[in-house]
Structure formats: structure tokens, C-alpha cells
């Protein structure tokens, strides 16, 4: 349930940053499967997630977050 809600929240962030209002994410989505998700938008996506949840990622977490699954994992580990 919680994970689903987070999925919705980060989907919204992805949609704004990548300027693609119809974008749908699933656990397997990653920079290879989503064209606009390049290394530059990755920076903004992470910054926006930080801003949204009022957290600051550590570098080891940022290195992990290379897919939607891993992003959600990190957020869950954070107990959000």
C-alpha cells in the first residue's frame, strides 16, 4: 500500500521533470526503458524527490537509485 502510494508520488515527479504528463512507471522502469531519463534529468529527479519528502540522500543511496525499484527501496529503507 505504502509502496504503491510512493509509486504514485514519484510518478508525478517524473512526469513534471521529464515533461511527459502521460508517463507510466513500473518497478522495472529505468534510464534504458525511458528515453527522457538521462543522467541530467536524474539529478533533477533526485533533487525533487529530496524536496518532496524533506530528506537528503547520502551518496551511497544516490548511487543505488538507478531504477524505479531501487528508488522505492531506498525510500522504504528510510522508513518513509
Amino acid at each position: 500500500m505504502n509502496r504503491e502510494m510512493k509509486m504514485q508520488e514519484i510518478t508525478e515527479i517524473f512526469r513534471t521533470v521529464l515533461e511527459s504528463p502521460e508517463l507510466c512507471l513500473d518497478e522495472d522502469s529505468n534510464p534504458d526503458s525511458i528515453e527522457e531519463w538521462d543522467s541530467y534529468s536524474q539529478v533533477v529527479i533526485l533533487a525533487e524527490i529530496e524536496n518532496f519528502y524533506h530528506i537528503k540522500f547520502q551518496i551511497f543511496e544516490m548511487k543505488k537509485m538507478n531504477s524505479v525499484k531501487n528508488i522505492l527501496d531506498v525510500l522504504c529503507e528510510r522508513g518513509l
Binding site: Y40, V44, I59
Partner: protein, 593 residues
């Protein structure tokens, strides 16, 4: 676009910038175009994208070049055919404390500071030589590591002291160079918070010099430097009175009951605002008032013994019951400046909204309380300075003289008669190294009397000044009421025996004074001396220069070409001689020599 003005939301900017960029490109028609190279000591793509939209919002459309990662120095100093082909007009050197690979350990600090300084200095000189461009260089923010804690700023081998000494060397260079600007990231990082600014993740993960959240702020400030250098800073303030220049409402509480009391917290806020406005006035920003009140009542407040600003500090006092928007229109007309050069400050959100809705182009900053006035105006960069000329410092006096002239004009029925009584004297000469600063400023500031709206950086102007086939003629004008300083500039290129007027601007303060005749007389004389028999003039409509649409016609030129966008080409033949057209202004020699 309101969202890109101070105080913008950095996150919103990062999130929405692509959408906003599209919107900006669709909206505006007349952009100043500039080629900007960003030479970075770190990743610069983010900064470039942000700078692009902030510049668009300031009316500047930039084309960018980015150096390879971290190769700022090499790309500037060594042969670089790509950059040569790009031919930058502005170079931004985006370096910061992260590029200070190591602080000196053994060497004495002065020697070490000198070494780093020389490294940068060599790069600036090389860029100037190759491109004659404007350069914007970051200074250095404070380092993360302090070897000696609090004593680091004091001890001769401290890191903090090192940064301070090095920055000081940068400033000395900047003071001596006209088209070299410092971007003060030391100040910005303090405003932002140094720890957040020097974000570890940003650097180690992406090699960003500073936190991505800080980049909108930096990009905004860079855009302000560029805007100011292109003469697009604001020129005047329109101020409300009640609860803006003093606490309370003057009519309601009795004339002596407004709060400008230096002993009260509220009174101090307004007195500090007075002091701030006075510093703006001293550097050439004009102050005016638009307030809903009876004239005498409103004036009473400014005559309050505690009031730091006095009635005579204001160019225009519109204290009446008119709508603010129509007062602002009037003020722009009377000062002869564009509405968009005005900033309107009013504590009342309803008045601000009225002005915004009215379509007046004045800038209307948003405030939630009086204590925000100073910080908001200051941080907004609306009045960013590029180069303060002697004319800026004397501008308020010049406008007073204009008011006196107006009074006199009203007493004359014959306009020529009036002009003659002004006892005008003009100096019309070629631009020299000494006044190229003021001349550049004027060229970039004028919108209305501006035939082609070409903009030039100071470096480009200096280049043209040295070039024999280009004439930069300037005119300064004085009369019995005072001096106006340099008020008109004409740039002509000689090509194939024809004199092409590529730019002609005149300050609106001196319109209808026959100075355009005197300028053409001087140009024709120079042409005759050089055996040039044709003068060509060009008019390109910019949306703001309707005023000079028929200038060349009125000067006896013939229209030889017109295209669908309204661009026109004019020609004047000198073969049959040239009869002087000015008979109101006495031409004198410059006093400098």
C-alpha cells in the same frame, strides 16, 4: 514571467524550466541576441539551461558554447578552433573553490596567491586578445576546510586568508578593466548557506561546483550581470507614501501621527528604507511618488522633520486620486523613459494588482510586509550596476534642469525662438578611450531614438574605436540650465566609398533640440573631407523605436528600399554639396584637450 523574477522558487524553476522556456520563446518577439561561452571548472549543462531561461526572461536570447568538463583554462589559452568559430561575445568562467586543487603548504602565501592569480590572469588576457569579449569571472567562496579554525582568516598560511587575498587580486583587475565583471559567488554562497552550497553529493556524484538547488540563484545573478552590461537595468522607482514611505495613513491619523519615529521598531523600518532609496538616488536612480491623497496632505508627510527623504529628492510627485497605472504612464512620459524602466513599490496588493492588470510595463515586485522592501529590491537585481559613469551620478541634477526648461518652453510660441534662448553648446567628436564607457552605456540603453537597436559590448566598442574604417561620433550637449553630458552616438562604417550609419541613438532627454541636425552636419563634413559622396541610413523597427521611423526623411534622405517587416534603407547624396541644417546649437571643441 513572474515565476522567474525574484523571489523565485528554485525547485519550481528546476522542475518547470523546459515548459517555461517554451512559453517564453512563444511570447516575446524582440530579443537581444548574444553568443555566450561557458568555460567551466565543473559540469555546466545545468547552469547553461537555467541561465538560458533567466536571460530569456530578461529579453536576451543566448546561443551557448560549453567547454569540455573542467577544461576552462586550456580552452581559453590554447588554440581552439571551435571557440574561434563560435566567436563569443560574452565568456563566463565558471570556476569555484572546488577548482583550487590544493592550498599552498610550503610556499609563502603571497607567492602562492600570485601563482594562482597569474594562472587566471593569463586566461583573461588571452580571451580578451582573441575575442575582445566581455568576461564574467566567479570569485571564490570560502573553503570547506579551515586548517586553523577561527584563526584561519588571520594566520598568514590560513586557507580563508588565502581566498580573501586572491579575491582581492581579482577585484583589482576588475576595477582596471571595463568589460570584466566579477560574479560574487562568495556573497551568494553566504546568502544560500555555505554548507548547502558546497553540497558533497552534487560534487562527488555529478561534479557540480555547487548544489543543484543553488544553481537557479547563480544563473539568476549571472543573468543580472549580463542584463546590466547591456543597459537593461531599471532606471526609476515609483513609490507609494502611506505604509510604504512611512508607517500609517497620513490623513487618518492626523498629520503628525505617521510613524517615522527613530525610536520605534516600525519607524526604523521605514527610515532604513529611506536610507536605501537615498543610496539608489545617489547612484543615478530616479525617485518619484504615486500616492492616493490630497497633494498638500501627502507632501506634509515628506516634510516631516524625521523624514530622511525630502520632497526635493523626488523628480515627480503624483499625489492625487488618479489610478496608479495612469500616474505611472504619466511619470514615464515626463521622465522620457520607457515604462519598463520603472519599478513600482506599494504595500497595497490591490494597487499592485491594478498596475499589473492595466498593461503598464512597469515592474511590480511582490512584498508581504515593509521589512521586505529593502532586501527584496536589493536581491532582485533590478538595479544591478555595470559601470557607474559620471552621468549616472549627475542624472538627478540633469532631470531638474529639464523641468526648468519645460517651464520656459511653455512661455514661447515659436519653438525655434525658444531653442535659441537655451544657448545650447554641443561637442561633437570621435569617441576616445576616455569616454568609450559612457558611450557604450548610452548605446545599450536607448530604445526609442535608436534606428537599428544594435547592441555592443564595451570590448566591441573599443575595437571599433581603434578601427579606421569605423567612425563613432558622439555628441554632448549643454545649455544655460546645465550640462546633459554625452547624449547621442552615431556609428558609421565606411565601405566602398559609402558611409553606412549602422547605429544612431539619442537620449530622450534631448529630443527636439535640433541635435540630430548638428550630428548629421558633422557626419557630412567628415564625409566631404574623405571624399565620400553617399550616406546610407537604416531603420529596423524594434517595437520601441517608432519615434525614428521617419528620422531619415526629416533629415533629407530618400527611401531606397523597404521590406515586408518594415525595415527601410535611406540614402543621401553629397555630390551637390551639403548645406548645414543646424542653426540653434553652437558647436565647440571638447574641453579635455
Amino acid at each position: 514571467m513572474k515565476e522567474l523574477e525574484y523571489p523565485f522558487d528554485a525547485h519550481e524553476v528546476l522542475r518547470e524550466r523546459r515548459k517555461w522556456k517554451k512559453a517564453l520563446l512563444e511570447n516575446k518577439k524582440h530579443y537581444i541576441k548574444k553568443r555566450i561561452a561557458i568555460l567551466g571548472g565543473s559540469t555546466t549543462r545545468e547552469l547553461r539551461e537555467l541561465l538560458e531561461i533567466f536571460l530569456l526572461n530578461q529579453g536576451i536570447k543566448a546561443e551557448f558554447y560549453e567547454s569540455g568538463y573542467g577544461r576552462f583554462w586550456e580552452e581559453a589559452v590554447f588554440d581552439n578552433s571551435k571557440l574561434d568559430a563560435f566567436l563569443p561575445e560574452i565568456v563566463i568562467i565558471h570556476t569555484n573553490i572546488r577548482n583550487m586543487v590544493s592550498f599552498p603548504m610550503q610556499k609563502t602565501q603571497d607567492v602562492a596567491v600570485n601563482e594562482v592569480y597569474e594562472f587566471y590572469h593569463q586566461m583573461w588576457e588571452s580571451l580578451e586578445q582573441k575575442y575582445g569579449c566581455m568576461i564574467i569571472q566567479n570569485n571564490f567562496e570560502y573553503p570547506i576546510v579551515r586548517k586553523y579554525g577561527n584563526q584561519d582568516a588571520v594566520r598568514t598560511d590560513g586557507n580563508v586568508r588565502f581566498v580573501n587575498l586572491l579575491n582581492e587580486r581579482f577585484y583589482t583587475y576588475a576595477n582596471a578593466k571595463s568589460s570584466f565583471y566579477i560574479c560574487d559567488i562568495q556573497y551568494l554562497s553566504a546568502v544560500f548557506g555555505l554548507d548547502s552550497w558546497l553540497d558533497a553529493a552534487g560534487w562527488y556524484m555529478y561534479k557540480y561546483a555547487m548544489s543543484i538547488q543553488a544553481m537557479p540563484l547563480l544563473a539568476f545573478h549571472l543573468s543580472n550581470i549580463v542584463k546590466a552590461a547591456l543597459g537593461k537595468s531599471k532606471k526609476a522607482l515609483v513609490l507609494d507614501l502611506d505604509n510604504t514611505l512611512w508607517g500609517g495613513v497620513i490623513g487618518e491619523e492626523g498629520e503628525n501621527r505617521i510613524d517615522l519615529n527613530p525610536e520605534s521598531a516600525y519607524g526604523q523600518i521605514f527610515l532604513d528604507f529611506h536610507k536605501y532609496l537615498l543610496t539608489l538616488k545617489q547612484r543615478g536612480i530616479l525617485l518619484t511618488v504615486s500616492s492616493k491623497n490630497d497633494y498638500e496632505t501627502g507632501l506634509q508627510g515628506l516634510k516631516d522633520p524625521e523624514s530622511i527623504l525630502k520632497p526635493e529628492d523626488f523628480q515627480i510627485l503624483k499625489i492625487n486620486w488618479e489610478r496608479k497605472s495612469s500616474n505611472i504612464r504619466e511619470i514615464a512620459k515626463e521622465l522620457n523613459i520607457l515604462e519598463e524602466s520603472l519599478v513600482f513599490v506599494d504595500d497595497n496588493p490591490a494597487e499592485r494588482e491594478e498596475v499589473r492588470q492595466s498593461g503598464v510595463a512597469a515592474c511590480v515586485p511582490e512584498f508581504s510586509c515593509a521589512e521586505e522592501f529593502v532586501t527584496h529590491l536589493e536581491r532582485s537585481g533590478l538595479f544591478e550596476v555595470s559601470d557607474i559613469s559620471a552621468d549616472d551620478l549627475g542624472r538627478n541634477a540633469m532631470y531638474y534642469a529639464e523641468t526648468e526648461r519645460k517651464k520656459m518652453r511653455e512661455n514661447f510660441s515659436d519653438y525655434k525662438e525658444y531653442l535659441k534662448t537655451l544657448q545650447m553648446e554641443a561637442v561633437i567628436e570621435k569617441c576616445s578611450q576616455k569616454n568609450v564607457g559612457r558611450i557604450t552605456q548610452l548605446v545599450n540603453k536607448c530604445n526609442q531614438f535608436n534606428v537599428t537597436t544594435k547592441r555592443f559590448t564595451q570590448a566591441q566598442m573599443e575595437e571599433m574605436q581603434k578601427d579606421d574604417s569605423t567612425w563613432i561620433l558622439y555628441g554632448s550637449l549643454k545649455d544655460k540650465f546645465g550640462s546633459n553630458g554625452i547624449v547621442t552616438v552615431l556609428i558609421a562604417k565606411l565601405e566602398g566609398g559609402i558611409c553606412h550609419i549602422i547605429l544612431w541613438v539619442m537620449s530622450c532627454r534631448v529630443l527636439k533640440r535640433d541635435l540630430e541636425y548638428a550630428m548629421l552636419d558633422a557626419l557630412a563634413e567628415k564625409c566631404t573631407e574623405q571624399n565620400i559622396q553617399t550616406i546610407k541610413g537604416y531603420y529596423y523597427p524594434s517595437g520601441k523605436n517608432e519615434l525614428v521611423k521617419d528620422l531619415y526623411q526629416s533629415l533629407g534622405f530618400e527611401k531606397v528600399q523597404e521590406d515586408s517587416t518594415g525595415n527601410t534603407v535611406w540614402e543621401r547624396n553629397l555630390k551637390e554639396g551639403y548645406r548645414k541644417q543646424n542653426d540653434c546649437i553652437c558647436i565647440t571643441k571638447s574641453e579635455e584637450e
